[in-house]
């Protein structure tokens, strides 16, 4: 029983990371109608910004998270301004936009590699660990799940209670109608890019704190995040929440199954891909679609 609980905790950890990282991706995917592969690098960038503040054991996690949020948000703003908006204005179709996002990703990733080297770095603070019944928990994991909860509730309030949030939903649902209703599409898009990437940066901080920091931090989990976005339904935040934790469960329990059948744990990634392909074949609009 205690074994199950530990795996459940792992699922919550995985799901929280996917939620934080996937929020921006699904919202901008819904708004701009293309998958932004540079989100991998937004995650990574956030991790490195966090590192600036957490490379000493006495670093402050909240400060690192805040710094990562704002810095990554800004990075996304610049990317949108310099790269994606000009392309969208030239009526670039989906694939050129995708390719551009991959190119942008390489620019960011190798710039990070140049500035910080490709060696793996570690956050120095040692998080307090304690036993909660049969389950072993660290303070870091609690913060992570807390951050995910905060994001979930916060974004829900944003999307339902504020004008901006409703504008986001409007544009995602019917862009022309939204324009005609007087919504400033540019401003809303910028806002979403900033916010979404900010959360991705936060995901990067937690991911780096829990594992290790390297320029491929984000890329390593990008494809499961895509699986989550599509499983939840592109553009749907609520779908994303469900999908993030569903995939978290699938991956963590699935690995047990894999080991039982004698397969290597490397197939963990394949679970996400399997989910992705099944969704695309049987329910392309996703859970919330």
């Amino acid at each position: 029983m205690g074994e199950f609980a530990q795996i459940l905790l792992n699922a919550a950890i995985t799901g929280s990371i996917y939620l934080l990282a996937g929020t921006g991706l699904t919202l901008t995917y819904g708004l701009l109608r293309f998958p932004n592969f540079a989100y991998a690098e937004f995650i990574t960038f956030g991790g490195y910004i966090g590192y600036l503040l957490l490379q000493k054991p006495d670093g402050s996690l909240p400060l690192a998270v805040a710094a990562a949020f704002f810095a990554t948000g800004l990075l996304s703003l610049f990317s949108h301004l310099l790269c994606f908006r000009p392309l969208v204005n030239r009526r670039a179709s989906l694939i050129p936009l995708m390719v551009a996002s991959i190119g942008l990703g390489y620019i960011i990733r190798y710039s990070i590699g140049e500035m910080w080297s490709w060696a793996a770095l570690s956050y120095q603070p040692v998080w307090q660990a304690f036993d909660l019944g049969p389950v072993r928990v660290t303070a870091l994991w609690l913060y992570l799940i807390g951050a995910a909860l905060f994001t979930g509730i916060g974004l829900h309030l944003l999307l339902t209670r504020t004008k901006t949030g409703k504008a986001i939903r409007a544009i995602a649902g019917n862009p022309d109608l939204a324009l005609v209703s007087g919504i400033n599409r540019d401003r809303i898009t910028f806002f979403t890019c900033f916010l979404g990437a900010g959360f991705a940066g936060v995901a990067g901080v937690f991911r780096a704190a829990d594992t290790q920091l390297s320029p491929v931090l984000g890329w390593d989990i990008l494809l499961p995040i895509f699986a989550v976005v599509i499983l939840g339904g592109i553009g749907s935040f609520y779908g994303l929440i469900m999908a993030a934790f569903l995939l978290g469960l699938a991956e963590n329990f699935g690995v047990i199954l894999l080991q039982a059948v004698g397969l290597s744990t490397e197939y963990r990634m394949a679970i996400a891909f399997l989910v992705l392909i099944l969704v695309l074949i049987f329910r392309p609009k996703g859970l919330a679609g």
Partner: protein, 338 residues
């Protein structure tokens, strides 16, 4: 490790070079990646006209480059490729190694576990020739005396091992054998500490030896609490001490693991050239085989067997101690392995 080669070359050049000529050293970085290694070796051989190479550093890269050097008849001497799988390969004619095969290290690791009375163990091995090679040796060396609950092979590039470690937690063994490198080791130990796995005995090996491990404080803590390990050791005193002093004097830092074997590899190659008066790889390899009989190297007494493998090894049992706020590796004792 490259520094030790530089030291050796400098010493030889200062003493007049080989056959009256100075030794020129070309350096390439193989990034411990087989494909990069092959490209680097091809470049050295084809562009720079190099015929005597020290490398590859890893067993995986050696598997890749072995056939190529055999085909091109270029000499390759590895100081650190320890996988047992390299023994008996068809391309061994032009491949030597000054480090002992992990067949020895695996037996030593198993013996340590048995001596401590461990009954149930898990083997956590990185999924590459080094890891899987050692894992097999350990499993067979444990024989029937301790039970291997499972062998977990992990992807060293993955950087998140919570699932594997949770599995270990649920299996609850007495001890864990871990075969990995610095990069993945740091994450594993950090996460193992988080999961409370420091209650078990962890036995590591040379891949996770190195002050680089302390770059992650959590990993250092974990190692201090739970870990011992083995690594090929340099004998105490004698020629190793001379080497160590020279190394310290020139580079202001202690020699790292395999610095001694790579120094020996360099010296052996250059001595062989001096002996045969040429750098023709075919002749050099003959000279290597004849020089490599009870050769007194800085890494101990070295003898090559017929195919260029080293026939015995000295290993050290190490542990990590915490002194105040700092961590350091400490030698517990030396172990001879046949």
């Amino acid at each position: 490790m490259a520094k030790a080669v530089e030291l050796a070359v400098e010493e030889v050049n200062d003493a007049g070079g080989v056959n009256g000529r100075q030794v020129k050293l070309y350096q390439e970085d193989d990034a411990t990646d087989p494909a990069t290694c092959l490209t680097a070796i091809k470049k050295l051989v084809e562009l720079n006209d190099v015929k005597l190479i020290i490398g590859s550093m890893t067993s995986g890269a050696s598997m890749t480059c072995g056939p190529y050097v055999a085909e091109r008849k270029v000499l390759l001497v590895s100081p650190s490729a320890t996988s047992p799988e390299l023994t008996g390969q068809p391309w061994r004619d032009y491949y030597f190694r000054t480090c002992p095969s992990d067949t020895f290290q695996g037996k030593v690791m198993a013996k340590i576990a048995l001596d401590e009375g461990l009954k149930k163990a898990v083997i956590l091995a990185m999924d590459n020739p080094y890891g899987t090679g050692l894992a097999k040796v350990i499993e067979s060396a444990l024989g029937g005396e301790a039970e291997v609950l499972t062998v977990i092979k992990y992807d060293p590039a993955k950087k998140d091992y919570l699932t594997e470690l949770t599995q270990i937690k649920n299996l609850n063994p007495d001890g864990v054998f871990h075969i990995g490198f610095n990069d993945d080791g740091r994450v594993i130990y950090q996460q193992a500490l988080n999961l409370g796995l420091d209650k078990m005995r962890w036995i590591g090996c040379d891949g996770v030896y190195g002050t680089g491990m302390f770059a992650t404080k959590a990993a250092a803590e974990f190692m201090a609490k739970a870990m011992v390990g083995t690594r090929p050791a340099s004998p105490e005193g004698g020629k190793y001490e001379e080497f160590r002093q020279a190394y310290l004097a020139k580079f202001n830092t202690e020699p790292e693991v395999f610095c001694d074997t790579i120094y020996d590899a360099t010296k052996l190659i250059l001595d062989a050239c001096a002996k045969t008066g040429t750098d023709d790889p075919a002749k050099v390899r003959e000279a290597l085989l004849s020089l490599g009989r009870d050769y007194e190297g800085v890494s101990g007494r070295l003898t090559f067997d017929g195919q260029g493998d080293r026939i015995s090894g000295v290993y050290e049992l190490w542990a990590v101690v915490k002194k105040g706020e700092e961590y350091a590796f400490e030698r517990v004792r030396l172990i001879e392995a046949e």
